[in-house]
Symmetry: C2
Subunit: 320 residues, 2 copies
């Protein structure tokens, strides 16, 4: 139950740590920094035009030869083009999210790709397994960005998904340290996905001002909101205050859509407009206090994980 | 970091498991069943009149001589009377919640009681430590009943509180099994508090119909709501649907108060009115499927905890 080898074997990586595919943060630079340091780097295609995705994949390949993944939110309008690029470029691993895993899994597997799907409930985890995916990312309520409607937290979700599935589970949401990684492994996960901490990596393509705002975030500094559209966890800022004001004024779904408008996330996370932009980040931002190279983040998490494990083993011996 | 002896030593118990003080569930019968089996039983005074609390304490004492606690939500109107009873009856441990720990901690400690306070943020955890409490319960968003406004989950909250405090931390919210207990210990907790699973114990004073409804709960079956009054996690039922309807109709705080009325929780949890009552339970209800004696619950959790620890140790050896 507590092994991580199925995940490291499936991906061909040294550490069972997946860097989350994050819009405006995870281009080729972050992905290759993570993969070259032994984790699984992921290019987040949700904020990329088709030609931009192709460029990122090619630059990734120039920077190293380690396995990597592309994350594809399946509600993306140009999903066909993205999948075409992925197959053409022989991206080893595809992580699909926000859509029906049955649509693409067979085609991708037939073309030789490893397929993983992101879920926020046991129900959708079972559906993903039935569709033939080789692992799921089980993402809890505390995660940043788009999220499930059930609001199930990582602590509650992961054991239920691990019990229900025969394929391996990667825990996501609230994991930014070695001890939260160890906790996730204790819950039955065989790997972890880390988002917020890598959003603040040196190699993250997010705007410096956004990264600093994440470091400054305190507990209670994010809220899952816009649930009538697609639930998304946002950092509190003037735009978030506008959303709250809209709710107080009894905004309709159309009002919320109009307020959100287009390209809000780009404006906030990529262009650094902290007032008018949408700032997507996880609750664990409250515990992140440094901008570091991705390799250092990975090493710190692995060192903390091993330390926690050693402490447990030592205590278990002391108790015996 | 990973020891639990500070908690077992502080409370004088065999297992670092606290049974949550829960209105309409945890009277003397549940508390003594838990304490007699080696955990810390807690009488929940929030649903008791002063004379009822006294009766429960006396019956508890007749049923055994193990340490126990009384939980006191400090917003309770008759808090003075409850505290008087607690001091008069020499209750060894007092767990205060929902209020300022500075108000009672000194007086209780001077009178020889051990004092623990329930918190949902680092800020209030520090305040509790400053007030002199001897441990805190750090309770995450997934917990049942009344809950913090920050919505911080157990996975995110516990490591931050454990880092900030020198006194021991008891993790609460989403813990109903040995592996979630082990996860909490990995996060830096030195003990755990278990609510929902004990609400379904044979010895819980909750109505049988409520217990069965908890067993039937699926993921996404609870929601933290009524945030304008005091955030509370409720199981979905016709009363919860009325609350949702009120929100859709733009209900004011006064409208919500009027809808809630009085004694809704008693009606649902104690009298078994599943339609009109307020049903307080945690997210982890989705993973609870049996009504069992409290001693059996405690044994299963401890066995799962030890098994998880053994698995980790074995895997660590295999890796070495």
């Amino acid at each position: 139950m507590l092994h991580t080898q199925r995940i490291t074997g499936l991906f061909g990586v040294r550490h069972p740590i997946v860097q989350a595919g994050m819009i405006w943060c995870s281009g080729w630079r972050l992905a290759s920094a993570v993969s070259n340091a032994g984790g699984l780097g992921v290019i987040g295609s949700g904020s990329m035009y088709p030609d931009v995705l192709k460029e990122h994949i090619r630059k990734y390949k120039q920077a190293g030869d380690k396995p990597f993944a592309v994350n594809v939110p399946m509600l993306y309008p140009d999903v066909e083009k993205h999948m075409h690029t992925i197959m053409e470029e022989r991206v080893p691993i595809v992580i699909t999210s926000a859509g029906n895993p049955a649509t693409w899994t067979c085609r991708l597997k037939d073309a030789g790709h490893t397929v993983v799907h992101v879920v926020s409930s046991v129900k959708f985890a079972l559906r993903a397994q039935d569709a033939g995916v080789e692992a799921v990312v089980a993402e809890g309520f505390e995660a940043g960005g788009h999220n499930g409607r059930e609001e199930t937290t990582t602590l509650v979700l992961v054991p239920m998904v691990a019990d229900a599935l025969s394929i391996p589970v990667i825990a996501a949401g609230g994991i930014a340290s070695g001890r939260s990684m160890l906790a996730a492994i204790c819950l039955g996960a065989e790997g972890v996905q880390v988002g917020s901490r890598f959003a603040c990596a040196v190699e993250s393509s997010a705007h410096e001002a956004f990264k600093r705002e994440v470091l400054a975030a305190k507990e209670g500094g994010t809220t899952l909101t816009l649930k009538e559209l697609a639930p998304v966890r946002l950092l509190h800022n003037p735009f978030y205050a506008q959303v709250q004001e809209a709710y107080r004024n009894g905004a309709s779904v159309d009002d919320l859509k109009a307020l959100l408008g287009r390209a809000r996330a780009k404006r906030g996370m990529f262009e650094g407009d902290l007032a008018e932009g949408e700032l997507e980040i996880g609750q664990v931002s409250a515990a992140i206090d440094r901008i570091q190279p991705a390799a250092e983040i990975l090493e710190e998490i692995m060192a903390g994980y091993r330390q926690g494990l050693d402490d447990l083993v030592r205590n278990a011996k002391a108790d015996a």
